[in-house]
């Protein structure tokens, strides 16, 4: 019975001030989308670091027209170099197999690539990865080398970009969260004002504090949850449309985002949305519904 009363109050409350409710939900969902994007990026960078840093440090890509003699000269030079710890030859086939593993979630992308379009390479682990410059200088003059790439440097640049995107997303999330909080606070004030007679009577006859406050807090929580669900939907759609679709080019550097991670955002956003709204509502009530 009391539950029914409280739920009814919540629905009536949300409907009574429907423009505010909508504003609340929109800001909340934008903020939570940004939060979710930022967390996803964070997880992504982490995953990529694990994936790449454990792998070969310096790649020496060979020209398509490299001769066997050139190849063995390069192999010898690497083996004899004092900086080398270990080396590994990667054929076009090897490269393609690896490629298939990394992009297993994007079969279309795999289809567009053949083993021939990938270069052969030597993957060299240095005793001290910082010595990359010296090592590259010593190797650079050799015939048949297309390019020498220190993956660490390359990855660092990529990760720096990701980190700044993540930071930007966090800042937007924070600013929107602030706006959402102010809206929640204001909505609660308006609601408390429009129900001031009921609240006065409830206090007079000794209704418990939680009973007086619950409808207001739940109103905010409901808006927070709807915002979170919307935010999650935005996030999911963006992932599908942008990364899996249009911006597939980007996925040359980005390892695919597992759908499991994206689903993980639903409970996270819902939890954050509900908790933040509840706390804001409750704090606002402490000022506007003094017992």
């Amino acid at each position: 019975m009391r539950l029914k009363y409280v739920l009814n109050e919540v629905l009536v409350g949300l409907w009574r001030n429907v423009t505010m409710t909508v504003a609340m939900i929109i800001t909340m969902s934008v903020s939570l989308t940004m939060l979710g994007a930022s967390v996803l990026l964070y997880m992504q960078v982490d995953q990529m670091k694990n994936f790449y840093y454990g792998e070969i440090e310096v790649s020496i890509f060979l020209r398509d027209d490299v001769t066997d003699a050139q190849k063995s000269a390069i192999d010898q030079a690497i083996a004899n170099n004092a900086l080398t710890e270990s080396r590994q030859y990667e054929s076009k086939q090897d490269a393609f197999k690896k490629f298939q593993v990394i992009w297993r979630d994007s079969p279309d992308f795999i289809k567009s690539v053949t083993p021939d379009s990938l270069p052969e390479s030597y993957r060299v682990k240095l005793k001290d990865p910082e010595q990359y410059g010296a090592f590259a200088d010593q190797m650079r003059g050799m015939q048949g080398i297309q390019d020498i790439v220190d993956q660490r440097e390359l990855l660092k640049k990529v990760f720096d970009i990701f980190n700044s995107i993540q930071l930007m997303a966090l800042v937007v999330a924070g600013v929107m969260a602030l706006a959402a909080l102010l809206l929640v606070g204001n909505t609660i004030q308006v609601a408390a004002y429009s129900k001031r007679r009921e609240v006065a009577v409830m206090k007079l006859v000794g209704a418990s504090n939680w009973f007086i406050q619950a409808p207001f807090v739940l109103e905010a929580v409901a808006a927070g949850l709807v915002g979170a669900i919307l935010g999650f939907v935005f996030l999911f759609i963006s992932k599908v449309v942008l990364l899996d679709g249009r911006l597939q080019a980007l996925t040359n550097v980005l390892t695919p985002i597992p759908n499991g991670n994206v689903w993980l955002m639903l409970p996270l956003l819902a939890g954050v949305g509900a908790l933040v709204s509840a706390v804001t509502a409750w704090v606002t009530l402490r000022f506007y519904l003094r017992v």
Binding site: M1, R2, E198, V201, L204, V205, G206, A207, S208, V291
Partner: protein, 226 residues
């Protein structure tokens, strides 16, 4: 039942105390008038008893509970043993007489079934039988105050506090409300009533406590307005 011991109340920002070292005891089942000029501190006493404000000094005991040391989360439960009526009725305009009284029950956790049994009974008691489904604006002032009394009494409180309950009513209606409160008092409920109405006080010949500038200047067992 009610004990004020050396109670002083100075509101924040006020230059002088609204109640100044007041001590008074009220027994179970008593009927007490508080009278005195405007601003003398009568409503402040009611607020202290309800724990709407706390005393600056001294002790307030209601129903054997020291209100001064009552934890704030216990206040709601404490208030359920006290009924309250005010000059301005304080009814919910969008609810009928029945709903206004039932609301008071529902928000303290009573079921609808209980309300269905008790509310008609108490509305009958206050003389509103047959007007249960009128909205406040469809009732006269006296009738609205009866609804308020029904709401205050429906929970069978030990104490009924009334702050100028007849302040907005004409003399005849005032007498009717007064009779109603008297009837409630006869059920054993302690009634504390603040009033300016000399007529009523003189007719009832009950205990009269007169306050002036926050001090008790008279406490008479079968007093008159004076």
């Amino acid at each position: 039942m009610i004990q004020l011991e050396n109670v002083t109340k100075t509101y924040p920002k006020a230059s002088r105390p609204s109640l100044d070292n007041v001590s008074v005891g009220i027994e179970k089942g008593e009927f007490v008038f508080f009278i005195g000029p405007s601003g003398s501190g009568k409503s402040t006493i009611i607020k202290l008893l309800l724990h709407e404000v706390s005393p600056s000094n001294g002790k307030v005991v209601v129903n054997a509970k020291d209100v001064t040391t009552l934890r704030s989360w216990k206040i709601p439960h404490f208030r359920r043993s006290i009924g309250c009526v005010f000059q301005d009725f304080r009814l919910l305009p969008n609810r009928t007489a029945y709903e206004n009284v039932a609301f008071a029950l529902e928000v303290i956790g009573k079921t609808k079934a209980v309300a269905r049994r008790v509310v008609p009974e108490v509305l009958e008691l206050v003389g509103l039988g047959g007007k249960e489904h009128r909205y406040p604006h469809e009732l006269s002032g006296g009738e609205q105050q009866r609804v308020a009394v029904a709401r205050a009494f429906v929970n069978r409180p030990l104490i009924l506090l009334a702050d100028e309950p007849t302040g907005n009513l004409d003399p005849d209606t005032s007498i009717e409300i007064m009779r109603l409160l008297d009837r409630i008092n006869r059920t054993g409920t302690t009634v504390v009533m603040v009033t300016h109405d000399s007529n009523i006080v003189n007719q009832m010949r009950r205990r009269v406590i007169e306050i002036e500038s926050g001090r008790i200047v008279r406490d008479q067992a079968r007093g008159v307005y004076g």
